[in-house]
């Protein structure tokens, strides 16, 4: 007799029959376990939400009044016939891999993850399992991240040069996670850091839960850029080159994303600089994480699924592609 799989891939998202819940569902369901607060994972309209204590503030900020419950990392909870626990994914503060165990069989849905310690998010912890669901956003061997300290040095050197030339350094990055990670990499001695509302709102939420960030100043309509020479402006990518950005006068623009590793993409963004900083695992990171789980069965979702799956199968894993609706934003969240 073959057993029902612990997790199945349905049109609503990843489903656990034993516990009757979904992980990061994309359609309204009664019970949702959420890996992290990014819009493509934590969606509106679920009957109830379960996420890490550290992920909840951002989710509440984004989704408003929701029926949500927090859980500590590592805490085991029984839901129907399933035992679940949340483990650090290192993607953004509060992000988790969700471990689901039914009758001794262990599955891990990792959501989005990165394996290096960014100094802000709870560092990734490998979880032993039989079945591992992995992302593959950067699942090609051309993606290899340089150490964060090296990128930080480049970033600060760029900012310092802009300041010396009397230009505003305009840095575009996704408001939740990436922006705060960049803040933690910036050297406040170079100059003042100005923020767009979207970034500052998330800053406030994360500061509220005890995360330390350098001082920032919200750009209000009254703010006069001339009062803040040598400033760096941190804003969502959509603000690059916008009307809003023009008020800062002479400027250089930069964009921070894993995609900046590709010259072609960098040039398409039409910014001056691209800094390669990603909250996803690079090629080596993905392979390391997969090996560390000890899992034999790998399910590959959003990203270069076909290519990465073929490679895993060649290397002896039992891998398959899982359809997803997660990667719906053309890479801008990265």
């Amino acid at each position: 007799m073959t057993r029902e799989p612990v997790l199945t891939f349905t049109e609503n998202g990843i489903y656990c029959a034993a516990g009757d819940f979904y992980i990061d569902p994309w359609r309204p369901v009664a019970r949702a376990l959420i890996t992290h607060g990014h819009a493509d994972h934590a969606r509106d309209g679920m009957g109830s939400y379960l996420a890490t204590d550290a992920a909840l503030p951002v989710m509440r900020h984004r989704l408003g009044e929701i029926d949500a419950e927090g859980i500590a990392y590592g805490e085991r909870r029984q839901i129907g016939g399933a035992t679940v626990s949340f483990h650090p994914a290192g993607h953004v503060p509060g992000s988790a891999q969700i471990r689901v165990e039914v009758a001794g069989e262990v599955w891990v849905a990792s959501g989005d993850y990165k394996v290096i310690d960014d100094g802000m998010s709870e560092p990734f912890e490998p979880v032993k399992c039989h079945h591992f669901i992995t992302e593959s956003t950067f699942g090609l061997p051309v993606f290899r991240w340089a150490p964060q300290a090296d990128v930080a040095a480049d970033l600060n050197a760029w900012w310092a040069r802009c300041a010396a030339e009397g230009k505003t350094a305009f840095l575009g990055a996704y408001s939740l996670g990436k922006a705060q990670r960049l803040l933690s990499m910036l050297d406040p001695h170079v100059g003042p850091i100005l923020t767009h509302t979207a970034v500052e709102n998330t800053n406030a939420v994360l500061r509220g839960q005890g995360i330390t960030l350098p001082d920032t100043m919200l750009v209000t309509p009254e703010l006069n850029p001339k009062d803040h020479p040598g400033a760096l402006v941190l804003a969502p990518p959509s603000a690059l080159g916008s009307q809003w950005a023009r008020r800062f006068g002479k400027q250089e623009s930069a964009f921070a994303s894993g995609w900046m590793a590709l010259r072609g993409v960098r040039r398409r963004r039409a910014g001056d600089r691209g800094f390669v900083i990603s909250d996803h695992a690079d090629w080596d990171g993905l392979l390391w994480a997969i090996r560390e789980t000890g899992a034999e069965n790998i399910y590959v979702t959003h990203g270069y699924t076909d290519i990465f799956t073929r490679y895993l199968n060649e290397q002896g894993w039992n891998a398959q592609v899982v359809p997803t609706q997660f990667d719906s934003d053309g890479g801008d969240s990265e």
Partner: protein, 532 residues
């Protein structure tokens, strides 16, 4: 190669032309002369003779990185640049580079004499020695194609600044058949009597498209009008008893058009003509369609049969040199008069034809004529100011192409494929279909015409609405209707729909249009009947 890498980064890391020009001008003043010369050569599409095949490069990169060859190839398809793909898959190292650009180039050229084992050893050791930008540039020296946002215009501006000489002179000096082996920085850029190579062409003058009505151009009597036919822009040079044919992309095409050799029977040496290369059947009133010319493009040597089937002429519309004198500064009307005089006695079978000018007294009359362009197999009209000199590059003001509106058809998107290079993470290559009863028949692909925001939007949609995957191609739910614009339509037995389009692109995303209201195969066939 450090200086060169620093220059490359300075230029690549900004979108502002002033900063690019400043970085280049600085380099052209301070770098070693041979490095400068090679830099000008590389940025204008010249490169050292390829010492290693790209097939070998791929094999070695796969081996050195431990990445299986298929995975390397798949990665290359996404990155879109071989030199970059290799630089990225190899393990990162800190650069330890003491060579100059010229010394690296010479080392690469020395490989020609070596066997494969020695070549491989050299390339692998270079990859271990060079990191980051330097590794990428080293690969580029082998593969060629320095597309880094430095136009000819930008480079001539930088050279002009570095040397204090005028830009048009710099543009002219850089044209033609020179190679760093045969010239020096001094002879190419500085020497007073640049005893130019006989084949050296003049920089082409390029027209802008006229977006508005021509009334804005002023008095119609100041202007001259000719048909604009769709061929290959070419410059015919007759000097020292020899002939040369150059394309607008500065490619020497002489061997491809042997029929133009007879031009020397009709015009004296020291003549340079600007015109359109067209297939023109003997006795025909108009040229053949671009399709006929296509058979000739890409053939480096032309078989007799093809020569007879698709005879090419130069449809001459301007004269740049006469009796060895550069006459580009003279007014168009004067140059034209000389051209008319020189071609007065051309026999009907001469490989040069004079482009006729249309007589008109007001713009309305000309507009009526333009409406009949398709009957003459033309794309529209060219308008040239009678007193204008022959400028270089694309400059607004004196030359305008006044084309007919493109043909359009509403079609349904049925397949999507992601782009490469600049568009690596977007779906940008689409296949479109028209209705045939209840079936959708694919008839064209199109890649351009949408904004980045629209490409992002359609990419998100494709991901959610994939029906089936065929490798990199995704079949999607038929749902979205696009208005496809194109310049021409031809019968094509190779295509399921029986037609092939010229320059298809997405004109508009017809979000307002329901699927059922897309055009039909019969509509397409009707267009073929009228315009084919």
């Amino acid at each position: 190669m450090k200086d060169f890498a620093a220059l490359f980064n300075a230029v690549d890391q900004t979108t502002k032309t002033t900063i690019k020009v400043a970085a280049l001008a600085e380099y052209f003043t301070t770098a070693e002369e041979t490095d400068r010369l090679w830099t000008v050569a590389l940025f204008s599409g010249r490169r050292p003779k390829r010492a290693v095949t790209t097939t070998k490069l791929r094999e070695w990169a796969s081996e050195a990185s431990g990445v299986p060859l298929w995975l390397f190839e798949d990665s290359y398809a996404i990155v879109g640049d071989l030199a970059e793909t290799i630089a990225l898959v190899l393990p990162p190292v800190d650069s330890d580079d003491t060579g100059t650009l010229t010394s690296w180039i010479n080392a690469l050229r020395g490989l020609k004499e070596e066997d494969d084992a020695a070549r491989k050893a050299f390339v692998l050791s270079a990859w271990q020695q060079l990191g980051g930008t330097e590794r990428f540039l080293f690969n580029k020296l082998i593969t060629g194609g320095f597309r880094i946002g430095i136009s000819q215009k930008l480079m001539t501006r930088a050279l002009s600044r570095a040397t204090g000489r005028p830009e048009p002179e710099m543009a002219h000096r850089l044209m033609g058949n020179w190679h760093p082996d045969d010239v020096t920085w001094h002879s190419l850029i500085e020497a007073e009597d640049a005893s130019a190579d006989a084949s050296r062409p003049y920089p082409f003058y390029l027209a802008y498209a006229l977006e508005d009505t021509p009334e804005a151009l002023g008095d119609p009597t100041d202007w001259r009008a000719e048909w604009k036919w769709d061929g290959i822009r070419g410059q015919l040079i007759l000097r020292d008893g020899d002939y040369f044919v150059w394309s607008r992309g500065e490619e020497l095409m002489t061997d491809r058009f042997p029929e133009l050799a007879r031009a020397a029977d009709h015009m004296p040496p020291g003549t340079v003509l600007d015109g359109e290369l067209l297939v023109w059947q003997p006795g025909a009133e108009f040229p053949s369609s671009f399709n006929a010319l296509q058979a000739r493009i890409g053939r480096k040597t032309v078989p007799k049969k093809l020569l007879a089937e698709a005879p090419v002429i130069l449809h001459a519309y301007d004269m740049l040199e006469w009796r060895g004198e550069d006459i580009r500064h003279r007014p168009f009307a004067e140059r034209r008069a000389l051209l008319e005089k020189a071609s007065a006695d051309l026999p009907a079978d001469a490989p040069i034809r004079l482009s006729p000018q249309h007589k008109f007294t007001d713009w309305t009359e000309l507009a009526t004529l333009r409406d009949t362009a398709r009957d003459a197999q033309a794309e529209g009209l060219m308008l040239k100011r009678a007193d204008s000199p022959y400028l270089s590059g694309r400059k607004k003001g004196d030359w305008w192409k006044w084309k007919l509106d493109p043909l359009t058809i509403d079609a349904v998107m049925i397949y999507a494929q992601s782009g490469s290079g600049r568009r690596a993470n977007l779906f940008t290559d689409f296949t479109f279909a028209v209705w045939n009863g209840n079936d959708l028949v694919p008839f064209t692909k199109a890649y351009s015409g949408l904004t980045d925001a629209e490409f992002r939007q359609i990419t998100a949609w494709v991901r959610k609405n994939t029906l089936q995957r065929f490798g990199p191609v995704r079949q999607v739910t038929p749902h979205h209707v696009f208005e496809i614009a194109f310049e021409g339509i031809q019968p094509s037995p190779r295509h399921k729909s029986g037609v092939a389009l010229r320059f298809p692109r997405m004109l508009r995303w017809r979000k307002d249009k329901p699927l059922q209201e897309a055009n039909t195969l019969d509509d397409l066939k009707e267009m073929l009947r009228i315009y084919g």
